[in-house]
Amino acid sequence: MNTETTRYTASDFAKYHAGTMPMQQMHALEKAALEDPFLADALEGYKNTTTPIDDVAAIKKIILQKQKPSYTTFFKIGKVALAVAASTILVVAATWFYFWQANKNVTNTVATNAIESNQNVDTTLFDDVLKYDTVAINKNGNVATSSSTEQNKNKILLPQANGIVVYTPPNPTIFADTSIQLRDDSKETTKFDVASTKISNNVAVQNQMNRYYNQQGNVTDKKGGPLKNVTIKDVATNNTTVTDKLGRFKLQTQDSSAVVIISNIGYTAKEVQLNNRTVTQPIVLDKNVENIDAEVVVTGFSTKKGETNIDSYKEKSTASSTTVLNGKVVGIQTKPQSSSKKTKFNSKLDTSFIEPKWLKTYLKNNLIPVFSDNNKSVKGVVTLVFEINEEGKAINIVVTKSLTSICDSQAINLIKNAPNWDKISAKWQKIVVYF
């Protein structure tokens, strides 16, 4: 709102609806309303009152009164009075805290299955249910309570393994107004089918949806720069994802506090517990200089058409893609990081892929050495998996092993701009580029 437009008031709206406004001004107001939905709603709304000017004056008066107390109290109370007040508040607060704590324990024992959890996921998601004593369940199975008491506000309850969510309202009187709503992501609210009914002052809600938790976060290096193509692997489910250009990732986990392994070539892997992590706190990876090799080797392998899809590679092979290649591919020497997953892939791999003759020279001629900040040349590997389309062009290139963002993008460009691939040899390609 940089351009200062006319600020319309209640009297303008009154005139408009009464028909006492000149046609020209009416047109100007209508035109402004077309640009500004706020104004348009307001204009329409004034149809519903006969005394607009008095109404607004009354509201103004009340709001002015509300502003006053903050003014007077501070100037009139002396220092001594302030000190007394402060100490009284302290005592009261301490007592309240003690009783609150005690009370909390009682609730816990009475409702043994009440879940005490106040991880703040994304309170803005539930923003418009905050005012009332409401239990809202979103598609992911997270339950948010919003209550008129501070204590229970924004509490996110998590369903138990059996899908039951237990919510303890702040007190039985408020409970009478508690409503349970199912919220889906389209922000529409429908009444939730409550499987079980009220038991004392607990509500048990059966949640029949598949539950998963959307975890997100970002990964940076020590200097705070985003790291892309970093692998994030859920230890429990082996689900894997990679970070995007800005170092961000999203991962669905079954556990709200899932443990993931975060790894990237050239960096020390890290084990992190995600607690419905929001993007505020980045995960920092430290550099690891040992993994670095000095030769330029290019190799590839193929898979049988239709037998393997790219997703299975992305999910399972990222952590050990070099291991998979070891011994299977002409001209590659890899140091295995772990040997656990190897057998899974052996059956699916087809070693009949013949590396295009031009590939080695092509890469050799076009690879530009990359230098890091301290002027040392960067060494390591970038592994790429991609698809070859009917024109023999590489599409859907995915970096399964990343080095640095510059090396990654160089490798991608080389593969993208390479002369036509032999489309008969294989549909899928995996290429390791050694820097």
């Binding site: 709102m1 600020r7 319309y8 008031t9 209640a10 709206f13 028909g19 046609m23 020209q24 009416m26 047109h27 209508e30 035109k31 309303a33 077309l34 640009e35 500004d36 939905p37 706020f38 104004l39 348009a40 709603d41 307001a42 204009l43 329409e44 709304g45 004034y46 149809k47 519903n48 009152t49 005394t51 607009p52 109404d55 607004v56 009354a58 509201i59 103004k60 009340i62 709001i63 002015l64 509300k66 502003q67 903050s70 003014y71 923003d127 418009d128 249910v129 005012k131 009332y132 409503s179 529409e188 609210t189 429908t190 009444k191």
Partner: protein
């Protein structure tokens, strides 16, 4: 009061928001709020219909604002306030009736593209605009021409064409939307 007068003319919304966040001065917020209070009251009337309910809502929104404004990063105060007020009204409607209320589709018709005027302003787009107006259905074309080119208000157009005023409004809104689509297409073609 002189002080209040002064700040309302010299400070922008964003500055007042900043000021309130740092000083927590209720007068600052009151002043900022009074700029939009008439609009908010109208908005509440639009949703809640009853003047009494709407007045309560305006006061409640003010109180909500005192805490929320400190918590959130607000870039565009007016747009944010609009959303906050709307949510407040919808929440109230929801709590009034245990049955879920679906907001009348008519209410939604105003949430439109704000950028049209920018497009229209560009002189080099005038030709394509003329072309696009020509492509509109007859009724929309007529309404758009009367409203934008001859600067008639809704009532005048309704009187002149003997069409209901609400229909006139929807012709203009739909015409605007179609115009925008058409002009965007032309702009894309030119860019190619």
């Amino acid at each position: 009061m002189a002080f209040i007068k002064k700040i309302s003319t010299t400070f922008s919304d964003a500055e007042l928001v900043q000021l309130y966040k740092t000083t927590s001065n209720a007068n600052t917020l009151g002043d900022l709020y009074s700029r939009y209070m008439d609009l908010i009251y109208g908005l509440c009337l639009q949703y809640l219909k009853q003047p009494d309910d709407a007045q309560d809502a305006v006061i409640n929104i003010y109180e909500e604002l005192t805490s929320k404004l400190k918590k959130y990063e607000v870039e565009n105060f007016k747009a944010w306030l609009y959303q906050l007020s709307k949510n407040h009204c919808l929440m109230k409607l929801r709590s009034q009736k245990s049955k879920i209320q679906y907001v009348d589709a008519e209410l939604m018709h105003l949430a439109e593209n704000e950028h049209l005027h920018l497009v229209i302003d560009k002189e080099n787009n005038l030709n394509s605009m003329e072309h696009c107006i020509g492509q509109l259905p007859h009724e929309q074309k007529q309404a758009i021409q009367l409203f934008y080119l001859q600067e008639k208000c809704y009532k005048e157009i309704a009187d002149a064409t003997a069409i209901d005023i609400n229909k006139i409004r929807s012709f203009i809104q739909n015409g605007r939307r179609n115009l925008k689509i058409c002009m965007d297409k032309i702009a894309l073609q030119k860019a190619d």
